[in-house]
Amino acid sequence: MAGLEQTTAGRDGLPEKAARLAVIILWAGARVFSIVVLLAAWEILARSGTFTPYQLPALSAVLERIWSDAVNGDLAINTALTLYRALAGFAICAVVGVAIGMAMSRNVIADWFFDPIVSVGFPMPKIAFLPVIVLWLGVYDTAKITMIVFDAIFPVIAATVLAIKGVERELIWSARNMGASKRELLHQVILPAASPQIMTGLQVALPLSLIVAVVAEMLMGGYGLGGAMMTAARFANSTSVFAGIVEIAVVGYVLIKAMALTRRRLLLWHPEANAPATA
């Protein structure tokens, strides 16, 4: 690839090089540009009086509210609670979901039993079962975490089943060729080979856990980012509502980024991370 860049080298004068640099900066700047314009438009629109402060609080007011929440500790408490519920639910999903997926690929009965449940349950709006779960388990954390597990376990199971089914036949044959026993085959070959796709399933389940946690909190009130937002809405405190959106968005963004980084570290070997060498 280096060779291609050299083809016109030595012929380019300063103006050509500067022009190319300018284009690169322009495109990079344009990306940030949209966001900046959007934020500026928000602030200007809010102050202009086209909307009431209730309908569109100023960006500055929202940021100020977030700051004061952070300072007085509310932000930390609510975030911690929501995160606790989401992560607890996610952890259960990960362990139980992968286990069920593994059982389904090794055991015909497990597969027969779970397959219609997963296939029918997947496209259902499982959040509709929240009132049922509340009926069974009350309005505290257990109910919320159960709802999260019920919702987010499906992508994990589906990904695990597909991942294991998709392991290249030749990898398994090679391992057996080299004398691997059935147990060794599962742990040393099938699971590592399936891990990228299983990870993808987990990457879907994590943001899902957060959303369900927030919705459950909105319905049941109390503390937590969702609950705080609903309380603010009931008191017509739109600044806090907007602040809540930003806070949840940031938490969501951090979780997604954290997952992506974990994926990159665990899957250093994956082709998606590397370009082939030449020799």
Partner: protein, 247 residues
């Protein structure tokens, strides 16, 4: 036929276990009313019109929100893939909104549009735009360069190439994005109706639950869950035909 029966047999078994567990009071009857009671309540709700009025309300909201998001999202996604300036302007916005949990927008839509249809339609529209736009964008971008060049060399104008090559090529990914949007629309609908509504499935579930009519509540929960499932299956059937050329 026999194969389908065998495949879904576990569900039938679960239904039987449910009925027996309730009948023999293994679980409290308030928490888990017998399946037969639930079915009876379902019929009552149907007959006295409650189920129908609320269904119409909910389905209207989904239809409007989803429909709008598909049209706007598809056009936007393809425009982003085809014209670089559009991409540069809009892509950052999509990237920023992508990780925002759409359910977090429920209170805001209420602030703007109240407790009625408007807030639900807006929520569904905003939420479902994301998968549709991304699907359209990825699908259009993946247009094989050689197909585009072939069309151009045969004399097609840029716009014709867009219509004849890029759009059909984008279909698989776009249709996949829409499938996600369909499922998402149900989720957003039910979430918002459970929390802030005066009509619709979610509202009905909530009010039945608050009033203690648990078997009726179960009936509506199962109805909505089943509708979501059915919508997905029907969607797959319809798109299978459109994508027949793929295989």
């Amino acid at each position: 036929m026999r194969r389908t029966l065998l495949r879904y047999l576990p569900l039938l078994l679960l239904a039987i276990v449910w009925e027996l567990a309730a009948r023999f009071e293994l679980v409290s009857n308030t928490a888990l009313p017998p399946l037969t009671d639930v079915i009876r309540s379902w019929v009552e709700l149907l007959l006295d019109g409650e189920l129908l009025t609320n269904s119409v309300s909910s389905l209207y909201r989904i239809g409007a929100g989803l429909g709008l998001s598909i049209v706007v999202g598809a056009v936007l996604g393809i425009a982003m893939a085809w014209w670089k300036p559009v991409n540069v302007l809009i892509a950052p916005i999509v990237e920023v909104f992508y990780p925002v949990p759409k359910s977090a927008l429920i209170p805001v839509t209420v602030i703007w549009l109240g407790y009625g249809d408007g807030s639900k339609i807006l929520l569904i529209f905003l939420g479902c735009m994301v998968p549709v736009t991304i699907g359209a964008f990825n699908g259009a971008r993946a247009s094989e360069q050689v197909l585009v060049w072939s069309a151009r060399s045969m004399g097609a104008s840029k716009l014709r190439v867009l219509w004849d090559v890029v759009v059909p090529g984008a279909m698989p990914e776009l249709l996949n994005g829409i499938r996600t949007a369909v499922a998402l629309s149900f989720i957003l609908l039910v979430s918002s109706e459970l929390i802030v509504a005066q009509k619709g499935f979610g509202f009905l579930i909530g009010s039945l639950g608050a009033g203690g009519s648990y078997s009726a509540m179960y009936a509506v929960v199962l109805t909505v869950a089943f509708l979501g499932f059915a919508a997905d299956r029907v969607y797959l059937q319809i798109t299978k035909r459109t994508l027949a050329w793929r295989d």
